[in-house]
């Protein structure tokens, strides 16, 4: 039967990509349907119970700046918060939170249920209704047809999912949940390049069977950072510590002697796993000289004893898992509540996507999350938000939006995916961002919230909070630039005393803030003592901008060049092979990737300045001919 309601956007999947997609589409006004196999698992964290981390909290803050749910939900569910890289410079500073799985699911489900324009339906999708290369709707398991011109697929590891424990394997989307094989079959028939990836989880433990006294304790940092700019630490639930233990020579011996029963080493697993998240058997083999590997013991939540021993993900048989776990300090009598497993799943080559996350071959079909070869909740959420937004915009007849590489990690992520593709599950690292110094978590709102408001993603509450912050920063900047220390005057003497910096000519306080030895705290108290009204958080934010200013200016020139290249569009069917002078290798690469602009072409590996000049000339000729035709 056909469901009576016509939707603008249907989102398939209720994970981190799916929920952000559905929320974003609904937020900008699209009549949206979220289809999930199980409403109970909406917002489920299938891997470790932590959100954020280096590069990843940058993404979360950007999702937050664009009105997404992930950061607020993390604050409501976070049971341990820490700042990473606190001494390595503000650009690379990051926030990590351990989250209570149940609280997190509740927070996400509450956000979904509270959203206007958003309907939820529980049913597995088995087919897409495609007519003349465009989407018209989807069919569910029970034969129900939902109609919508835009469909966002966020199927995670469920497409053709196969779970391995030892040499045994069976179909599965997550432990205990069925894969989406009918849909996988259907998608494999589309002209999209499909391949397999692999990821894994460790066995989970019963906390009552573990001795924490043998482990190092890691508590929340106080005062606690928050994930969302809108939160304060008061929304955090009770905080509990994590623990740290290590594998040892005996653990490694147990693993080494069982490699003949490892699906990884016997060839049963063909998918490629992430190099930065290796299984414990991988670590033991590849780094044979190490006699210990860290195990980070994360609590699964406040209302459960279950633990997630991060660092020993494995697909070895259960008896080996148990022996290996019990060889670890503190785990001697540990009870395993769920065995670790590896999962192989289908992903689609993201080079077949446009930067809007819409597939090139099927109009109205969008992909987000692990289906694109990425890994991580944060990477999924960022893509989901973008795909949901652009699906809704397309439904309303508006052009897509995607931030540039110099505007957001979201832009780096999408650009890397659509121009370079993936060779292993893609995870964000700050080193992927060439404009890392400007893409900070502290300024995610300054970079994106105005745009988010314009797109309709940002509600009134967030907008007025942002406007207040911006007013304070502008006022603070004016004050700091206006107050001048003159050698010998009272202010200069106090500053020299407080900072140890010499002042040998008249200089504004903002200029002084640029010096490496000067920090916001000492400067603020000197100013406040002299009756100059400034807030330390404002000065601290301005300090970051002052310290990076020289680098920003250097990058501005580079960005201006990139921008100019972004303005030169290449038609979707631009014929790269017709360009004489390009090597055949380059022609093939460009034809396969079909960059949408000169700037994107410039990032295809192997494109030289000369090749770019050729492209520029041909793009201009092409545009001229189009005009004449």
């Amino acid at each position: 039967m056909q469901h009576p309601q016509q939707f603008d956007v249907i989102v398939i999947g209720g994970g981190h990509a799916g929920t952000e997609a559905a929320l974003a589409a609904a937020r900008v006004g699209a009549n949206t349907l979220l289809l999930t196999q199980s409403i109970e698992t909406v917002g489920q964290m299938s891997c470790n119970p932590a959100i954020g981390g280096i590069g990843k909290s940058h993404l979360v803050r950007e999702v937050d700046a664009l009105g997404g749910a992930m950061a607020l939900a993390t604050d409501e569910a976070g049971i341990q918060f820490r700042t990473l890289n606190s001494r390595k410079g503000p650009a690379v500073r990051a926030t990590r939170a351990q989250a209570d799985r149940m609280l997190y699911r509740q927070a996400i489900r509450a956000a979904v249920e509270a959203a206007d324009n958003l309907t939820v339906f529980q049913q597995s999708v088995v087919d897409l209704d495609l007519v003349d290369g465009r989407v018209r709707g989807v069919d569910t398991q029970m034969g129900l047809r939902f109609r919508a011109g835009r469909v966002v697929l966020t199927t995670g590891t469920f497409l053709g999912g196969r779970i391995h424990v030892g040499l045994e394997n069976q179909p599965g989307g997550r432990a205990g949940e069925a894969p989406s094989n009918a849909l996988a079959e259907r998608l494999r028939a589309l002209p999209l390049k499909v391949d397999r990836l692999k990821t894994g989880t460790p066995p989970r433990l019963d906390g009552r069977s573990v001795h924490f006294s043998a482990m190092e304790v890691q508590a929340s940092e106080e005062p606690r950072p928050t994930m969302s700019v809108l939160s304060t630490q008061d929304v955090h639930p009770r905080q509990v510590p994590c623990h740290i233990t290590h594998t040892n020579a005996r653990t490694h011996e147990i693993i080494r002697s069982s490699l003949d029963r490892s699906p990884m080493f016997t060839g049963a697993i063909e998918g490629i796993g992430p190099r930065y998240c290796p299984s414990i058997e991988d670590k033991v083999v590849r780094f044979a000289d190490r006699d210990a590997h860290q195990v980070f013991v994360e609590p699964e939540g406040l209302s459960t004893h279950e633990l997630y021993p991060n660092g020993i993900s494995t697909s070895l048989p259960f008896d080996v898992q148990l022996a290996a776990v019990r060889s670890i300090a503190g785990f001697e009598r540990a009870h395993i509540t769920r065995p670790g497993y590896a999962i192989e799943y289908d992903f689609f080559d993201p080079r077949d996507l446009q930067p809007s996350m819409e597939t090139r071959c099927i109009e109205g079909l969008y992909f987000a999350g692990q289906i694109n070869g990425t890994t991580g909740y944060e990477e999924a959420a960022a893509q989901g938000l973008l795909a949901g937004l652009n699906a809704a915009r397309a439904a309303a007849g508006e052009s897509p939006w995607c931030p540039a590489r110099y505007e957001a990690y979201v832009g780096v992520l999408v650009d890397d995916l659509v121009t370079l593709g993936v060779t292993e599950p893609y995870r964000m690292f700050t080193s992927r961002a060439e404009y890392r110094l400007r893409l900070r978590q502290d300024n995610a709102d300054q970079r994106l919230t105005e745009k988010g408001r314009e797109l309709g993603l940002v509600d009134d509450a967030r907008w007025s909070a942002f406007a207040a912050k911006k007013r304070n920063l502008d006022r603070g900047a004016a004050v700091l630039s206006g107050v001048v220390a003159v050698p010998g005057n009272d202010l200069a003497r106090a500053l020299v005393k407080a900072t140890g910096e010499a002042i040998d000519r008249p200089v504004s306080v903002f200029e002084i803030l640029k010096r490496p030895g000067v920090d916001a705290g000492s400067l603020t108290s000197v100013l406040q003592d002299r009756g100059i009204a400034v807030d330390e958080p404002v000065v601290a934010q301005l300090e970051i901008e002052a310290k990076y200013q020289g680098y920003m200016q250097r990058q501005d020139e580079e960005i201006a060049r990139v921008k100019a290249n972004e303005e030169v569009a290449l038609r979707p069917n631009f014929d790269f092979r017709a360009i004489a002078g390009l090597s055949n290798e380059l022609k093939d690469k460009l034809a396969a990737r079909q960059p949408a602009t000169i700037a994107q072409a410039a990032r295809v590996p192997g494109v030289t300045p000369a090749a770019l000049s050729l492209l520029l000339v041909h793009a201009k000729r092409d545009a001229g001919e189009q005009r004449r035709a």
Partner: protein
């Protein structure tokens, strides 16, 4: 020299001393940073958009020659210009609508051929040792970045990347590698100092004829200098603008009389001091398998150093084709056949290949190395200040500049090194 850009008024004023009237040829002195004259010539200024490229264009026509050219180029670049990419003037003209759309194909072809030429020139200037050393520096930078980037992206690993990296010492080592290479590259250009070229070989192979041939065709600019001894004859000539000090030696042969032995000794020391030795042989003797004696001293000069050039003279007697055959240059000093090829081969040793290609390529490499050195020093300061993120940024820029010479290091290369070097991840 042609300069094109959005606004050239400052550059024009600083070099010419005034803003020349648009579209008028003006006689001017081209000044260096201290105001001293580099050259005197014609300055032509075209204001945008009435110019070849559609931008401000400044043309400086001087007396030329690589030395003057080099100084002028250095000056313009110091004022904010950069070397044009191959075909870039035409490209800009096209993009600014100064060239008809119908000519796009021709423009593209030009860029293509110009860049292929430049690539070949760069290849030539990238001799094995130079590129090996840039690669060595690039590797050292990557090795250090592996630590700095891992320290940032994998801060929760139990590895003290920063302590292990020994960053300050590594940066010092990198800086001195770059400095050494920059110094040597400057010397290697042989543009300012010129080149010492010695003609050597057994008696009667035509060394003096070759000397005379090279002198004769340079008559207009040659000053003969009488030999300081009766057996060494010296003369200054110029090949493609490079000053060449040419020395003709006594025939190399063991066991002559006392005067001749002294001559041979002198020839030996001249050869040892030379930038380039032309070892001349007699084609008619070589053709009948003779000339083993001619090996003698000349062959002791190791050709692999690039300081020796084999010249087969008298090909008019054997009908061999003239020209540069790779392992030797075949000439006839008598008829002049092949002498042009010999001249080009000498210029190549000086770092100046036919045309400007290799020279510009080398200039670009030097620019890149100099900028890289700046980033290296800045990185050292940032490490001192404890700014890990800024040190990493300087190193990224440093590697990007080296990448202009030896190819780009991508983020994937970097991550691959990190994952290969350390056990990372949970």
């Amino acid at each position: 020299m042609r300069v094109s850009g959005a606004d050239l008024t400052d550059i024009a004023r600083l070099i010419v001393g005034r803003l020349p009237a648009p579209r008028h040829a003006e006689l001017a002195t081209f000044a260096d940073a201290e105001g001293a004259a580099i050259d005197r010539g014609i300055a032509l200024y075209f204001r945008a958009p009435q110019s070849m490229t559609g931008e401000d264009v400044l043309e400086l026509q001087g007396h030329g020659g690589p030395v003057v050219m080099d100084r002028l180029l250095e000056r313009v670049c110091a004022l904010g210009a950069r070397l044009a990419r191959p075909g870039e003037f035409t490209e800009r003209a096209f993009l600014n609508n100064k060239i008809d759309l119908a000519q796009a194909e021709a423009v593209a072809d030009l860029i293509d051929s110009a860049s292929k030429r430049a690539a070949r020139a760069a290849m030539r200037s990238l001799d094995g040792e130079f590129s090996a050393r840039v690669n060595q520096i690039d590797r050292a930078v990557l090795d250090l970045r592996v630590y700095l980037e891992a320290a940032i992206d994998f801060a929760d690993e139990e590895i003290d990347f920063l302590a292990e990296s020994d960053a300050a010492a590594q940066l010092d080592a990198i800086a001195s590698l770059i400095e050494g290479l920059v110094d040597e590259s400057r010397r290697g250009e042989a543009l300012r100092e010129g080149l010492d070229v010695v003609i050597a070989g057994p008696p009667n192979v035509g060394k003096s004829s070759l000397m005379n041939r090279l002198l004769a065709e340079n008559r207009a600019i040659v000053t003969d200098i009488p030999g300081t001894t009766r057996d060494l004859l010296k003369a200054d000539i110029e090949i493609q603008g490079i000053p060449i000090r040419l020395t003709d030696t006594a025939g190399l042969r063991e066991g002559g009389d006392r005067v001749e032995t002294i001559g041979v000794e002198r020839a030996r020391s001249a050869m040892a001091a030379a930038d380039l030795v032309l070892t001349v042989e007699d084609a008619s003797v070589a053709a009948i398998g003779g000339g083993s004696e001619s090996g003698g001293l000349a062959s002791k000069f190791d050709p692999s150093t690039g300081r020796s050039l084999r010249v087969r003279n008298k090909i008019d007697l054997t009908d061999e084709p003239p020209g540069d055959g790779g392992d030797m240059v075949r000439i006839s000093a008598l008829s002049g056949a092949g002498v042009d090829a010999l001249r080009a081969a000498i210029a190549k040793v000086a770092g100046v290949a036919p045309g400007e290609g290799a020279y510009l390529a080398r200039r670009r490499h030097l620019d890149a190395l100099t900028a890289a050195l700046g980033h290296c020093r800045a990185a050292t300061r940032r490490v001192d200040e404890g700014c890990g993120d800024l040190a990493a940024e300087e190193l990224r820029s440093l590697q990007a500049r080296l990448g202009e010479i030896v190819g780009l290091t991508t983020v994937d290369d970097l991550l691959g090194e990190i994952f290969g070097s350390f056990c990372i991840g949970k």
